[in-house]
Symmetry: C2
Subunit: 387 residues, 2 copies
């Protein structure tokens, strides 16, 4: 048994941070960005990363620099932030509702090429009515439901053409169709993922075909989730792909089988603050406020509790997880049995890093990230919070 | 069946907010503060609210105004914020570790009467060594484990006296003992809660007695959690109580049985953005980014999913919950069966309020609260984020 000790340069940098802290391993992040962009290039599609994972300017700039064509956002606040950073081609991928049209209009009036989405006649009517009132031609994509997990119109539903006509005849730009096969998160074999990727592709292409056959325009066919983007064998008929969490990956993605733990670029730096030796527990200062309450691995093949324990240099300590969490306390323990050597293995003051279940949720707990790069200055990258 | 419509003044104010938004019902909050303070006064103890629930200056000021004697914090950032607001008597209720002593020293040097805690000889030694080096007499309380749920020294452990002696003989001020019976969250009958309150009280008093019998000082005996504070029948030997979530209450507390839904003071304002009529779903713009991933009611007697649906005036819509959540999408559905009238019952654009499982976790998702008070101006109250 060795006590956890670290003397690499990155580890020394981390020694200076207050804990808990969110840490981005920049070389891993750049590898992930490169991996996805290369794959999209090989598949012959544009790539529009979903920036809801990082909500961070420096991360988005790295995605754009690698070849991303526009971005996807989950809030209009993200759209405003990244437009201010110079990104103009932005898809707001949550169904538009009347009360948010003034904010969308304001962005377009400032020069942002904002696209919005809808999956209902009622919402489409609200968009065209508002557009007519303010003299704005909104670009609208229709959301397609290819896997039954959330929003969207099924590819074979009559409503698809109704919505298309309301938009097109009402003076909006019918820009295309988009779908997100979020149920891919429930799969964990290459075969099932490839099948879901094909289902997502085929459904979205069918919707586009039906619109075009009805004489309606549909230039864009946009699909994507991290698992399906990495599992798709071909993307015939698709013009662009969206994915978000790939930029950091996380334990949920690891369990799905689309990354290794060596590719996980986000972790939470934490300090051991105590023990319950009889129970084999070390108590750390990363509780759920730091890790988030996301227990996305709880129904997967490997339940990591609130996260996988790593040494401060980022190497995994096999078999040790955060098995419990209160607001500012995490319970670190060995999977399966109590470690009688927990106190000497992880003495008070030991710095550790915890890989999260879900990078989007864990990132959201922090105002900023500490970016660690052995080849560049370490910096603090701020992160959007709220709406 | 009536469509959800609202015309009260508070509802009109809420119409102007962008969604999702965190809303505090100020009269309910003031009622909760009064209820707890009155109870503590009747039990003859000081009350030191835990401000980790709100992390909000206006809420803390209301607690102080009602009679609170000092506050409890979960991070040193909270301590600094609320000290700047004028609160001097602050207990940092997470085990102190060497790397955080400089920040604690800085607060004390600025005049903050900061108390810190420990549950180990190693940490106690670090505190006294640091205090000696910098000429600072830290006030330290010993954390007691009265229910086995997390940190602390058991009342009958030999280590209690060891830690007491290290602190007292090392020049620190041994200020007392404190405990938190967090396992009260797993109970839901008045009898079990009262028994846990007595276990918490008796254990902490025993620890104090052992210290005093060994010739060590122990002026403070501090106990508390919201359920045990409200269930205790007497607090003999206790000098102060701590509790946090009572200020807002939440669905977890409702299931435990210490409040009614009419006492829940925090909710999330949301807008219906779409439907999946076949499934009986309305889609709202409060996903887990707004509600948090906390599923604290999932193992309780009533599982509310991600929250209880209310009309915009705050009245409960019985039987409707957020049954699912993605990052910016919530799935609203009827418990038990699909509602065939979901589209007409909750049309697109409908404003609703969602009561959260866990107020501490949901509040943390927002940079600020919208405080709604029919007798005063509505305001935005900012909330601390991060460490």
């Amino acid at each position: 048994m060795t006590t956890i000790q670290e003397t690499t340069p990155a580890a020394l940098t981390l020694q200076t941070l207050e804990t808990p802290a969110a840490v981005i391993d920049v070389p891993r992040m750049q590898h992930n960005i490169r991996r996805m962009q290369d794959r999209m290039n090989a598949l012959g599609v544009r790539f529009r990363p979903h920036v809801k994972t990082s909500k961070c300017s420096q991360v988005v700039q790295a995605q754009i620099a690698a070849g991303a064509a526009g971005i996807t956002v989950s809030t209009l606040k993200e759209a405003a932030q990244f437009f201010d950073d110079g990104v103009t081609d932005i898809l707001y991928a949550v169904g538009m509702v009347a009360s948010k049209l003034p904010a969308a209009l304001a962005l377009r009036r400032r020069g942002c090429d904002l696209k919005i989405i809808t999956d209902s006649v009622a919402s489409a009517q609200a968009i065209v009515a508002f557009g007519a009132e303010y003299g704005e031609t909104f670009e609208v994509w229709i959301e397609i439901d290819t896997d039954g997990h959330r929003s969207g119109i099924r590819p074979d539903e009559a409503a698809l053409l109704d919505v298309g006509r309301v938009l097109h005849e009402g003076g909006a730009t019918l820009g295309g169709v988009m779908t997100h096969a979020g149920s891919s998160y429930e799969l964990d074999t290459p075969e099932a993922l490839a099948a879901m990727a094909e289902q997502e592709r085929a459904g979205c292409v069918l919707a586009a075909t039906r619109l075009r056959d009805a004489g309606l325009p549909c230039p864009v066919v946009s699909v994507g989730s991290t698992p399906t983007a990495l599992a798709a064998t071909h993307l015939e008929g698709v013009t662009e792909v969206r994915a978000g969490v790939y930029v950091f990956f996380d334990l949920v993605m690891h369990n799905i089988g689309v990354c290794t733990t060596d590719e996980l670029a986000l972790s939470v730096l934490t300090t051991v603050i105590g023990h319950q030796a009889d129970k084999g527990w070390a108590i750390v200062d990363a509780g759920w406020m730091a890790m988030s309450r996301d227990r996305g691995t709880s129904k997967q093949k490997h339940d990591f509790g609130y996260g996988q324990v790593c040494r401060v240099d980022g190497t995994v300590v096999p078999g040790y997880v955060l098995s419990g969490a209160n607001q500012e306390h995490g319970v670190l323990s060995r999977e399966g049995d109590a470690d009688p050597d927990i106190v000497s293995r992880f003495p008070i003051g030991t710095l550790l890093r915890i890989l999260p279940n879900h990078a989007c949720a864990t990132g959201a707990q922090f105002p900023g990230y500490h970016a660690i790069d052995p080849h560049a200055d370490t910096g603090t990258w701020s992160r959007l919070h709220g709406w």
